[in-house]
Symmetry: C2
Subunit: 505 residues, 2 copies
């Protein structure tokens, strides 16, 4: 009844199994793209809802910009086009004609259009039109959209040719305010990642060679997956005046002088769902944090005799009604009664694999004793994972309990992260020896597997090649720099910068 | 301060003015596409929220399917491809290369991809995979997405190359259930249109030549704009077994026989916002129904002396706080304090043009007298449009008042619709004479302008040509058929079918 593959046996195969057994998404006939199914999309809707609220609370408004960007727009920012040119979907025709029974593209466009890989260039064009004076600034906007990057090795949620995301774009009258904005939104991402997704992250700056194409600085949040690899979970870019110069975003400042504006951009995507899976799922399938679970509680009637059906269903309806006024995480509790005509044992397993936080079974005896059997997903298989409770006890505790389960998930992931950042590696030899081993599943709370190394980096351009050859990346230069002197883990040269090294998704 | 153009002077120009003066959207550099700005997108978010809730309440779940559809999929359903082939964006390459400093498409795809004009074909492919037995049915799903139809005469919200919509897709084991689904969703559309958008609609079936390409039957809701033209506001299609046959969606029925399934699809788009504008806006700009207004109440501080600022802002904060617990239409009331550093008279006009339901001005004297000046947008310019109220009176009435304003808007639009359906035209001569006149703005509650005609239609194929030559369309064959006999308004032949004739958007 558990996954075909365990994490220990084959972590990548296990990941695919979880996605498929939880019925979250599947590969599409459309090459490299995915179909996001109800349970996966439901999680995304919750993430959207929570993040959208915080984006609005920080003063941003939602807009929508065209997904087609004229090719010439990419001519304007050299670094930007270089970063994306290899993975662009290009629209060249506007109709199909039928020639000898075969459909063919027809009516070529005067200028090809690019399906947005990201929208800096087209939004900068609007900014240039909208911004005249310092009085028009800042402009703080966001859009929820689909984007396309022509990935050659697609993987559900982690890397698909089309994916869903939000991209924030802002313009400011000065550099300081733009940098503050960049960091403010990174903080929002950390908050959503840790509080909603129960996924602890490290915050830092990307090294030069990992920056967003066209950015002055890229900040990021990085999470540790259960195999010790890093997942970039969100990025926030300080673009300086780069896009302002290429798109001509100028304003009259308070000294009545014409000046280029400062812009930022920041985004998170459906990739986060991949992160949630690899942070929390186990060998029995998915585990969804209660805060973002489409349903937090599943009621499954156990009907052994047809005669019992009515009284069990009435009892569940009563229970459901008592939960109506209840909230958790500041929102109404989400409950589903699974009344499908299917063996209840199959239904229970289905919800275990989907990772619903609580599955409650209710049979005739429970009705008579005013009780219910509560199974909590994160404790599945453990003695405390199954509890016979009285209804009033269940409903009285439910809000706290869901919040407790969420906290447990976060604490567990946090312990894993904290226990698996090596800080005792100080020479290139030790470093190479450590990463000579492959990544494996980190058993709960155990140390020692290959994961993150925190150590020195000299910042020399040659380190980029060394990293490439080792298939290691610098995830970030963490915000909490120690400032101490030491030796670069790649070159052995003098170095003061602290870096987080890891393999990554 | 009013629009550059009135409805009477030039209705199409007035429409563009409203969209631009209300800052709802603008034309993009991306040809034929629009940028939806905060106020326009905020309205769409409200519509999405309300409709999404009803889509879920009727048992549907949200999914997401790829926007790229392999060209060969369109080969499968002949009518379908014929309907869309002339307006398709075709992706043919997957990268750009730099040749002599110029970017050019490179890496041609093996099979071109179509940017979805609608998703029947690709979703049918998934259905074929998912459906095995009658036990798997029905599948009821929906997606919120962008779609592309290569319009040659784009118009903001009404007709843009890319637009936003929802498309529902369902599969059923029998024809009856699929037809019921089709009509159920049409009813949901009517409900949202009338209750949320305050836009009354007629419901009916499309004549054969106006059906969705590939459908057995298309049902629609049709609204009357202020110039008497019709706007198709939503459609729901009974697809029979057409797509099931072309995509091979088969299931084992209760008799253990293999059978083709029955599918439906239904959608509404950002076009609805065009409908809201042309239903409600006036010569002073936009008027947004309170139910879908991003903000329902705008507070504008009138600060004449700098010393007064603090006490006025505090007073507004107190008022805002008192509104926090209030609801209208079952949701929290949405309030904005416009504290921008700008002359207050400009701010008031801005919100009038944007059509915020209530604009409240508060100066030092109001603070002293515990009052505020309330301006209701729908009564703007009339004596009752401006009221000095006490704060407690204002907050006590606010929920009811917002719902009253919504009702007033609906009643007004409903009267216009009912008063402007001619039923006394019975011969082709009268019909031709009536439509020989152009459409003009229907002054409030006045009859007599060119709008809708309800009359007989013989249903002969030749009528399609007559309609084309007159630039008239049959909007629908309304559900409430009289069943009486008469003469066709196009051919003079015997006819029993009632049809709604009109010019349309």
């Amino acid at each position: 009844m558990v996954m075909k593959t365990t994490r220990k046996q084959n972590y990548p195969a296990w990941y695919q199994d979880v996605v498929s057994e939880a019925d979250m998404a599947e590969n599409s006939v459309s090459p490299g793209c995915m179909v996001i199914k109800a349970w996966g999309y439901g999680i995304w809707e919750r993430v959207q809802h929570i993040l959208d609220e915080q984006i609005k609370e920080t003063g941003h408004e939602n807009y929508y910009f065209p997904m087609f960007i004229p090719l010439s727009f990419f001519q304007k920012e050299a670094d930007h086009v270089e970063g994306f040119a290899k993975e662009m979907a290009v629209v060249t025709h506007s109709r199909l004609i039928n020639e000898d029974g075969k459909l063919k593209p027809s009516s070529p466009l005067d200028e090809p259009l690019i399906v947005r890989p990201t929208s800096e260039t087209i939004i900068a064009d609007s900014f240039a039109k909208w911004v005249k004076s310092y009085r028009d600034l800042p402009i703080l906007l966001n859009q929820w959209a689909n984007v396309v990057r022509w990935e050659m090795r697609p993987r559900l949620f982690l890397r698909t040719r089309e994916f869903l995301w939000q991209e924030g774009h802002t313009v400011h009258s000065n550099s300081l305010e733009a940098e503050e904005e960049t960091k403010r939104m990174l903080e929002v991402y950390k908050n959503v990642s840790e509080n909603a997704l129960a996924m602890p992250v490290l915050q830092g700056r990307k090294p030069e060679h990992e920056k967003f194409p066209g950015a002055i600085d890229t900040y990021c949040i990085e999470a540790m997956m259960q195999d010790g690899k890093a997942l970039q979970a969100g990025t926030s870019h300080f673009l300086g005046q780069n896009f302002a110069k290429s798109a001509d975003i100028k304003f009259v400042n308070t000294n009545n002088e014409l000046e280029y504006a400062y812009t930022t951009s920041w985004g998170v995507s459906t990739r986060l769902i991949g992160g949630v899976i690899m942070s929390h799922a186990d060998d029995n399938g998915m585990i969804v944090p209660p805060h973002i679970a489409p349903y937090q509680i599943i009621f499954i009637p156990l009907i052994k005799k047809a005669d019992d059906r009515e009284k069990i269903m009435e009892y569940i309806a009563k229970l459901q009604n008592e939960l109506k006024g209840k909230t958790a995480f500041g929102e109404k509790i989400r409950v589903k009664v699974d009344g499908r005509d299917k063996p209840s044992v199959d239904k229970v397993w289905e919800w275990i694999r989907k990772g619903a936080p609580m599955v409650c079974e209710i049979g005739a005896r429970d009705v008579d004793s005013d009780g219910l059997m509560v199974k909590e997903r994160i404790f599945f298989g453990m003695p405390e994972g199954k509890k016979l409770m009285k209804c009033n006890e269940f409903t009285a505790q439910i809000s706290e309990r869901l919040e407790f389960l969420q906290k447990e998930m976060f604490e567990k992931a946090k312990k894993r992260l904290e226990n698996n950042i090596r800080t005792d590696i100080t020479t290139p030899e030790q470093f190479a020896a450590y990463f000579a081993n492959s990544n494996e599943w980190i058993e709960d709370d155990k140390k020692g597997k290959v994961a993150f190394v925190r150590g020195k980096w000299c910042g020399n351009p040659e380190t980029e090649e060394i990293l490439k050859s080792m298939k290691i990346t610098i995830r970030c230069l963490p915000f909490d720099q120690s400032g101490t002197a030491g030796k670069c883990l790649l070159t052995g040269k003098d170095a003061t910068i602290d870096a987080i090294y890891a393999r990554s998704y």
